[in-house]
Symmetry: none
Subunit: 125 residues, 4 copies
């Protein structure tokens, strides 16, 4: 399998979400090219030692977001997306999160300046 996925079963995040996040990143960043045929879900499940259903759930979410499309009997393929569309989906996925994050930072009384310094510091790591 050529997928580059790491699953942490001890993570607080559900496995299907870890899968979704990693795959969606790779598609949005163009690391998986359009038309690329993903490995069969049963293969992915076996290699990651998780259930087929869990993989399926992640794939369904990817399809719902228009990042892949599945064809019975043929496999699942990375959707054709222009650079513009990829950027659009990326922003769509990031904005809501950032908005919530900022709301939380503010509720803790952390200043804009402090946040930005921390962001810069963690970005360099």
């Amino acid at each position: 399998m050529s997928l580059d996925i790491v699953i942490s079963s001890s993570s607080e995040k559900p496995i299907y979400q870890q899968l979704f996040e990693q795959l969606s990143s790779q598609i949005i960043l163009g690391q998986l090219q359009e038309g690329y045929c993903l490995p069969p879900i049963r293969t992915v499940a076996k290699e990651l030692q998780i259930s087929v259903i869990t993989v399926k759930k992640a794939w369904e979410e990817l399809e719902r977001r228009g990042l892949i499309h599945s064809m019975v009997g043929r496999g699942c393929f990375v959707a054709p997306l222009s650079s513009f569309e990829r950027l659009d989906k990326r922003d769509e996925m990031a904005f809501d999160k950032i908005k919530k994050d900022v709301a939380y930072y503010k509720s803790l009384g952390i200043s804009e300046k402090e946040i930005i310094e921390l962001i810069r510091a963690f970005y360099k790591e």
Copy 2:
């Protein structure tokens, strides 16, 4: 009840966590002074129209973080914290989160510059 809490039952966040976040903010920001006696959990539960168990869970989390301490038969009290200690706890609660957030932003290929612009924009709202 003199607590200033707002619960959203339609939020995606569990109720106990909403409680915890709001109380911890207020303690960390010094809005609830040290030694202040919190209302009985049954009172809080009744006024917010939630389960006693839910309130208990939030209080336990606050105690675990050292923000309150309970005395059997007497009630729960805001812990005595110096300004320095409060800042320390605040940072402790914020750092891990920011670190994770930045990791996610990076995985989506968003630049440090973009993030900071968004943070600034959302901060002004």
Copy 3:
């Protein structure tokens, strides 16, 4: 259980889709009022003699469409929708289908007039 659902296991449609279609109709038509608490999925599953997972899948689709929202430990509730929003969702669900249907009718060489006569006839039944 007060839900008014009929499942045909011999139908060509998947069970979860039958569930989804009937529930969504009832919500869109205002037959299930906003805030109404649906019976627990395990109860629905038992009464309809289908799997919990199948019910869950239908509920997930309803939630995705904004027709219900679920709260862990509390249940699933019909979303608050204005008459306008309900009409909007109804149209959203109907338009795509009608468009496809018309394309098929046209490919069979059936005239607009014939179709309309048939629609009228079946509508009266």
Copy 4:
């Protein structure tokens, strides 16, 4: 190959059904004359870049409907149909679908008038 077929691999419809629908339309509309010898299924498969099995399945469905008949070792031929018979088969194929469609429209609470307006609009496209 003189067949006029377009296959969409990204369509939600199975390929064999796309094949069947297009061929049956052409036969019913008299675009393929009776006695016309269809190209060998291996030729069709190669030109459309699909599996022979898929073509075979579509051909079987056409034969089941009495639109073509196969003669071992000689090929598949468009069945001899009078104009009347063709109209009959067309209606047979359309009626069930329209009936189901109308049932669905009704379940969504869409009025006969609305449907007809939409049908007219989509027909003009």
